[in-house]
């Protein structure tokens, strides 16, 4: 088969694949927030509460504790 043709098909498949990933990501961002699994907007606080003494938004230690339970 003409390699140009194969190239064309691959290109099209790839574009469709990327479009899926992109929309998948957008949907993921909004759905996980709606379902309450994850609150992305709270990460905005990372820049504001950034003292050494302020409580981490998601601390490494807490996270580890959760996993060990």
């Amino acid at each position: 088969m003409d390699p140009k043709f194969i190239q064309g098909v691959l290109y099209l498949v790839f574009i469709i694949f990327l479009t899926f990933i992109l929309y998948g990501y957008i949907i993921h961002l909004y759905r996980s927030e709606k379902k309450g699994e994850k609150d992305y907007e709270k990460y905005g606080k990372l820049a504001l509460d950034d003292e050494l003494t302020s409580k981490p938004v998601e601390g490494i230690e807490e996270e580890n504790k959760k996993e060990s339970k």
């Binding site: 990501y25 993921h28 961002l29 996980s32 994850k38």
Partner: protein
């Protein structure tokens, strides 16, 4: 999947890398071999021209002059035939430039002479009234670094198979001889003397006769070869 990636710095970095490396692979790799094929008649630079090209680079002539004629009538009328891919096969690095503060030089050898260049580089305004190009007088006294140019020629010959000492067009004669440094230097001096005489400047001729090639002579030899 996504939130996992956001919390694992290592895999996150790998992901970012794949995303940014992707475009380069798709754009640059496929045509790489084809782009480096020379057009018929293209020849590597001889020692003097290569040394002149290095002078061109050393003083960053490419900051103001392009070497790329685009396929428009207004450009071909002004500068000559538009540029072809294979003409650049021996250009390491390429010297297309990105800004025309001065005119394009890709075919300057077709319409300028050695004495024009010498006068122009000595005092641009006397040749082109209103020019904003500065004079490059230090090129008239600096000696050309032939040894570095020779080292470059040997390097590209060895590493990239650039056809020095070879019969390129199949007429049974060696097209661009290089040989040992002494041989190459002698050839360059002979060529330089011709250029120096064309410039009609006695100081340049004397310098070449004493075995030293001024940078300007090498540069003019290079510019004359741009056709």
């Amino acid at each position: 999947m996504f939130s996992w990636l956001e919390k694992n710095p290592f895999f996150f970095a790998v992901g970012v890398f794949i995303v940014i490396a992707f475009a380069g692979l798709v754009e640059i790799v496929p045509d790489f071999a084809q782009q480096s094929r020379p057009v018929a008649g293209a020849k590597p630079y001889d020692l003097l021209k290569l040394a002149g090209r290095n002078v061109y680079i050393k003083d960053s002539c490419n900051a103001c002059h392009s070497q790329l004629i685009r396929p428009f009538k207004s450009e071909t009328d002004r500068y000559g035939m538009y540029s072809l891919n294979g003409e650049y096969a021996y250009d390491r690095p390429f010297l297309w430039g990105s800004k025309r503060t001065g005119p394009d030089l890709h075919r300057v050898g077709n319409y300028r002479t050695s004495d024009w260049h010498a006068n122009h580089m000595w005092d641009p305004i006397s040749v082109v009234p209103g020019s904003i190009m500065p004079a490059y007088k230090h090129m008239f006294t600096n000696e050309t670094d032939l040894e570095t140019a020779y080292a470059e020629a040997v390097t590209v010959k060895k590493v990239f198979n650039v056809p020095y000492d070879k019969d390129i067009d199949g007429d049974g004669k060696i097209d661009v001889p290089l040989g040992s440094f002494e041989e190459a230097k002698e050839r360059a001096l002979k060529e330089a003397l011709k250029v120096a005489e064309e410039t009609k400047r006695e100081d340049l001729v004397q310098m070449v006769k004493s075995g030293k090639i001024p940078e300007i002579v090498a540069l003019i030899a290079y510019l004359n070869g741009l056709k």
